[in-house]
């Protein structure tokens, strides 16, 4: 991987200190690459090591990208959540727990979980209802999912 990098970008080869081109490299490449370029004892990667380095590079890129959006807001059910929900609708702790379990198991069959605040409390029942058939949700299970989403949303 490293050799490939230098073949594609010959300007990354080490240069004597003080040359002007060094500052261009500073601006053009990340710190880790700069260290490689400055190191006169560059290791030549064997063909057997290339897949491992490729895997690590992909993993590093993915970790960077995960930083952009990496949250799943599915708070656990609490007695306070059930008490607050009971004031608005006829739900108990068991129903909210069932709703959370179904939400995190059935919905991810087709898509990732959307942020609960992405849609309004008025929109959620229709959204869940429109996909309940695809998720094999029975009416009572569908109601439990809606109840959990609304309770979690109200907790924010």
């Amino acid at each position: 991987m490293r050799m490939k990098l230098f073949r594609q970008h010959p300007h990354l080869h080490p240069l004597p200190e003080g040359e002007e081109a060094q500052s261009e490299v500073d601006r053009a490449v990340p710190c880790s690459m700069l260290n490689l370029a400055a190191n006169p004892h560059i290791e030549i990667t064997s063909p057997a090591e290339r897949p491992i380095h490729l895997s690590l590079s992909i993993l590093a890129a993915l970790i960077f990208l995960f930083g952009c959006e990496s949250t799943n807001y599915v708070p656990p059910v609490t007695p306070q959540m059930a008490t607050a929900s009971l004031r608005r609708q006829d739900v108990d702790l068991a129903k909210l727990r069932q709703g959370r379990t179904l939400f995190v198991h059935r919905c991810i069959e087709c898509h990732t979980l959307p942020a609960i605040w992405r849609y309004s409390a008025q929109d959620w029942p229709g959204i869940v209802n429109s996909m309940s058939h695809r998720a094999s949700l029975k009416p009572a299970e569908r109601d439990a999912v809606i109840a959990y989403i609304l309770a979690a949303r109200a907790q924010q």
């Binding site: 063909p47 949250t71 898509h111």
Partner: protein, 241 residues
Amino acid sequence: MSKRALSIFALWILPAMCAFAGVRHFTFLYEAPTSPPSSIELENTVTWKHGAGWNDVFIREEIEIGITDRLQLGIYPLDWSHHSDGGLQYNGGAVELIYNLSNPVVDPVGVSLYQEISVARQHFESESKLIAQKNFGRWILDYNVTLEAEWESKGLAEQSGELQQALGASYEISPRLSVGIEFLHEFIFPDWHDEVTNVFVGPNVSYRRHEWFVTVTALAQASDTTDEPDLQLRTIFGIGF
């Protein structure tokens, strides 16, 4: 069981199984979530492999059934392939079971175990897989490690094996569209002695709407193995009944 009894059983069971089994975000990797109970889906997989002077096409049909919230059954009644040098051939049938152990959203890692048994004339194959997945918001990060053992020829005398690890990431642009990348690292052991290492990497795209989905992956070989394909293109089309 008589034909009448079978018809009554089918009429009773089919309406209960009218649901969608699930979308595939990857084609060379399996995902940890299993199909909802009582769901049924037909998946058609077409793989085109292109090498120096040769082209092979593999076609597989799968009926995917959700048994419980954690257990999924897959039946492959049709498995065909067409080879540049050998023409069309039937590769037999297969059965797979996937058992889900943990959830990729609420647990630290979503894990499932996969076992497939494939049988044909003078051919027996076992494929075991560990599936690990984590969902981060709109991202799905997936990892599979697979061990395949194959026995073929007269008396199943020829043996070979393969160890494979695969890594994939998928980003959901919208609830209907995802794009991602898949990475395959294969260790092939002909006769369980020699070792051939292959690496493939490439992008994928997945689109879903109503009761169907389609996912396409194009993989290019990143290693330098002459007998292996330079390019692989796999399409999975799934439809729920």
